[in-house]
């Protein structure tokens, strides 16, 4: 039980030592049949509010796997307060969600835009991509996921105290290299448009919204998924938590570096 568990699961139960968690069908199947877990095996669990806990497999039945909570492994750490508003792209929603979660986004806001090819989003799928990425990347929470909104609704609901960094494909925005170091710590969101760009109406609405700051990512045309990942990386490096170090360094301690 001293070794760090290799399996991490997101659960919605609250935690207390000795309590049992009856897993739902998908994680039960994953544990029993994909990972071939046995009774007594260690599993790490997180619920988005109480850090990461050690649990052990208490029983495996045809219906469900039950875990028993042991003790806390690491104190809860919320992901940085950074939102990503993105126009879903055909066959790429999984990529954007997976990468955004790994890069530590706290809320995903799919936006419907005039020129978007994808007009609806399967929320169950988006949630499952987000949970899987959160389990894999070691974070203690799963980002909130909003229903799809159009640009006027997004801007109408956008908090007054949160800057919306807008990836402006027209090239008229600020350099990230100049913009990011000039911004204070605080609440941010990033908006990345669809492959066809924004419509004139949408661009006008963005131009007059007081929270919006446009930026540019250089001379090449980035696909929408590339743009989301690239913008998130730069914003996390400068305004997020990239000064913190991973908490899984134990197995590197013996190397020569």
């Amino acid at each position: 039980m001293n070794q760090a568990p290799k399996i991490r699961l997101y659960v919605t139960d609250l935690f207390a030592a000795g309590y049992n968690i009856i897993l739902e069908q998908a994680p039960s199947h994953y544990l029993a049949h994909v990972m071939r877990a046995k009774e007594g095996d260690a599993v790490a669990v997180f619920n988005g509010q109480e850090g990461e806990w050690l649990a052990s497999v208490a029983s495996i039945s045809k219906k469900a796997v039950t875990l028993q909570l042991q003790h806390i492994l690491s104190k809860h750490k919320a992901s940085p307060d950074l939102w990503l508003a993105f126009a879903p792209i055909k066959n790429k929603v999984d990529v954007v969600v997976e990468k955004a979660v790994e890069l530590g986004v706290s809320k995903l806001l799919p936006v419907y835009t005039r020129h978007a090819v994808v007009k609806s989003v399967n929320m169950d799928k988006v949630t499952s991509y987000a949970v899987e990425a959160a389990e894999q990347c070691g974070r203690h929470d799963v980002p909130a996921i909003e229903e799809v909104k159009d640009i006027p609704t997004l801007l109408g609901n956008w908090p007054k105290d949160r800057i919306l960094l807008f990836a402006d494909e027209s090239g008229k925005g600020a350099d990230l290299k100049t913009l990011l170091p000039s911004l204070p710590a605080g609440k941010y969101g990033i908006l990345v448009g669809p492959e066809g760009g924004f419509s004139d109406d949408e661009r006008k609405a963005l131009a007059i919204a007081s929270q919006v700051k446009a930026f540019c990512m250089g001379p090449r045309i980035l696909r929408a998924d590339t743009a989301s990942i690239a913008a998130l990386a730069c914003v996390q490096a400068w305004l997020g938590d990239w000064e913190e170090r991973p908490n899984f360094v134990a197995h590197f301690e013996t190397t020569g570096t």
Copy 2:
């Protein structure tokens, strides 16, 4: 002929007004059958050295499409001198190559590492991903692509005057936020490891190589493809050409922004 062509093709021919280019089988098929081009249609072409030229479809036969070169559209601009050394990941080589090309990498160096799952790379496929991404993103060149090397060979051949920024998953590297603004303009490469991390031997070789500077991308575990894209974005934003603006702004001129 005044409109910017919607189709961009990479060719290996040299350019001169009036010359004909007989396209190979794949681009011929693409033009004739996917894009349903007709004689007289405009196509933009680039060859990696002479900028972007306007050509028109001169003839379409069963065997090949022939283009006739008209005149230069934009002067040649080389991509920034930034290399990416990456451990190829199962089913993700296309993603890494596509994103790296969009983000303006000048050379791709697949590396074989001890813990890598993928032990060989289909060079033809890597080349075709790179060409397609270069055509799509508007750059004037296709990155050079080296044969797969192991870490000792990569380091043994690494130029003395090129800094190798190493994405160190152990968390011991510098913050990008501190490191990047401290570095002068110059020649750089990025090294991103495989999903299993580097072996002790590989880490020792990296630790003693004088050109290597390790950096860290925060507390979460990034997948290898996410790490490549994220690192490239930050390095291009700070040391690359992201202060330049896209040269395709014409259709945004009428918007209100």
